[in-house]
Amino acid sequence: MNSPATAAACPSCGQALATPLLCEACGALLAPARAPTPFEAFGLEPGFVLDLAALRRRHLALSRELHPDMHARAEAETRRRAEDGTAALNAAYQVLADEDRRADWLVRALGGPGEDQERAMPQEFLLEVLEWNEKIEEARSAPTGSAERARLDALVPALESERARRRAAVGECLTPLPPAGAPALRRARQELNALRYLERALTEVGELRLAVR
């Protein structure tokens, strides 16, 4: 697990803060001067490797303190902080809990290319993409129960294992975190592009399997 970010002090009680959103010592809800990064919101050092179960527990624990429901009868300013703080926490959780979004955030934060600047996918991956696309297209026009549809079922594990491989590759590029502007960031972006394709393909296959015709 990553160690806590540099501690600031609570303006109410002076205790060290683990998150800029609230003081867990005195329960004060805070209004941070700038929006915290996803890692800051959870009091974590930036890093690709993360304990997901611990992150989820932390999200629940912080939600218990921050959520507007817990401040339903407080005065307007506290209710506003609860609303804003929970929104920030939820946004941070969504980035951190999803490996691909977490990697995307790190690549950008380290000055790496965005998907609009680096559109390429890894070379060897492109050939497979052509083959998968063909299978998906065939299945799209085929009726339920046909051989084309059956091939779709076999495609799912193939796409999933490819996704696992690509995620591992992203992890390698980002562990330990490369220095800002390192070539590894470009490679990570290419792997992320491949992952985006895989996610879309898996969703599409899922939709096709759900659809009855």
Binding site: G27, R64, H67, A72, R73, E83, N90
Partner: protein, 620 residues
Amino acid sequence: MPYLELDVLNQPARPTLGIDLGTTYSLAALWRDGRPEILRPKGRPDGRIPSAVHFPASGAPLVGWSARERAAGEPGRALLSVKRFMGRGLADARADLASVPFPARETQHGVIQLEAGGRLWTPQELSALILREVWRTASEALGEEAPRRAVITVPAYFDEAQRAATRDAARLAELEVARIVNEPTAASLAYGLEQRREGLVAVYDFGGGTFDVSVLAIEGGVFRVLATAGDTHLGGDDLDRVLVELALAEAAPPADLAEDPAFLQGLRLAAEHCKIELSTRPEAELHVAVPERRLAWRRAVQREEFERLAAPLLERTLACCRRALHDAKLRPDQIDEVVLVGGTTRIPCVREAVAGYFGRKPHAELNPDEVVALGAAVQGHVLGGGTRELLLLDVTPLSLGLETMGGAVAKLVPRNAPIPSQATETFTTYADNQTGIDFHVVQGERELAKDCRTLGRFKLRGIPPLPAGMARVAVRFALDADGLLTVTAREQSTGTEATIEVQPMNGLTDAEVETMLKESFAHAREDFDQSRLANLRVELGTMLRAIEKSLPGARASLDKETLTELEAAVAAARAAQQADDVKRVQRVRDELERAGLPLAAVLMDSVARAALQGKKLSEV
């Protein structure tokens, strides 16, 4: 100690109603003595109130059971499921409006208005009538004024416009909305499933007019909605319809009869009855009779036959289940608990289908008609400060975004994002010296804005003239814990605050809500005045008759001045007896009472004397 904790500890829990504002029925529950309880008035085991409004030929609309009773005989004057029109425009609701016996139009902001009982009603105002009736019934059950604060439930599938309409209906009913909660989420609160250390729950909610399924994760007392899916046009009514169609096909009534609303309403009731009976018996009778048209048809329906007819509808519910699990990235066998909600889940084949799909016996210990209101009361208990043990983390059911150049959608808040949620996206100008940008706020999953639902449009004005692409306009979406959206925008490059005119689509503006509320007060005044007037006239008549009867005998005992005053008051009262002005009638009544006091005194004396003389009171 943290002051927020103290805040909670020092204040007594604030009672908060839980209201299930349903398509066919509505009901209220309240947390009492450590558990949620349905509020049933004495002698009425069923706490439900039909979500029906009936417009009599004259006078104020009837709501609830009386409306439903009248609706059976006069379907042309009743509205049975106003919820379907909440947050909808004419174009969205065309199919549903076909079965409504009132002319419909639309406000300039796309809010449906139904013309009934001599005026126009928005769905928000009609729902407010139902909410007032729910509140009144709750007060009757409690024997005192029910809390005006309430948690109100909506289908998980409701979009922003529909949630906003629900909130506005509550405001019109003078209720303070503590929270809008998804119905399936409320149902799992009712079962106390938060007491599980952790687990995955599927809530299968098959009501009268809607179906939805939600997948929730529970962990350490926290509820998280992972995914919801549903069909706003799939419910128990559709199961009645398969029987109605069976009857229409086999009984073959004449064409004009088959289109007669009263006949169809009767047939629907017969079908519903047959369906309910089939839940407990292997066979039930379906019959149609219109003696004056010499139509009499009856036949036995086997449970198996009904199940065969219902199968495609059940399959549609299971397709929604597959969709929700797909979105939650789960398999059916990973679900730990299944909860049944809605009267339709009493049907054995529905239960079997659910049990079969999830591979486990669903929860049906609580009354499926009541679980949602009970759960809303649990959440009301939390929001009233009664407990900090429980926390509900909800998600938004549909993606929110803005139309971009070329008609595509830029999603700002994705579907199933936890709420509250906030997102900011920066836009720029595409022409030199452009000083305004039009924004189109949409909700939905489709790629193109035209295929999504329009929530509103707004214009950003006052952007400083700059070369194309230089202005930086930050648009911020803030989705609160009720799933209600606020959009703000500002130009950043120069720090200039730009103005926004938001135009809600299919929604009421705050000003409109205020006006309606004032009008409803005015109407309430009018209704009150009318009944007061009726009561005053009755009272005046009684007083006049009493005076006319006793005055001749008492004349001698009254002085001249008193007599003149009394005769003037009587004349004024006679003249005002049929007046429509409440104040005038009230005034002459008061004057008559005052002028009649000496007469009353004389009569009292004579009564006393008569009593002494052994005369009977009636002889005085």
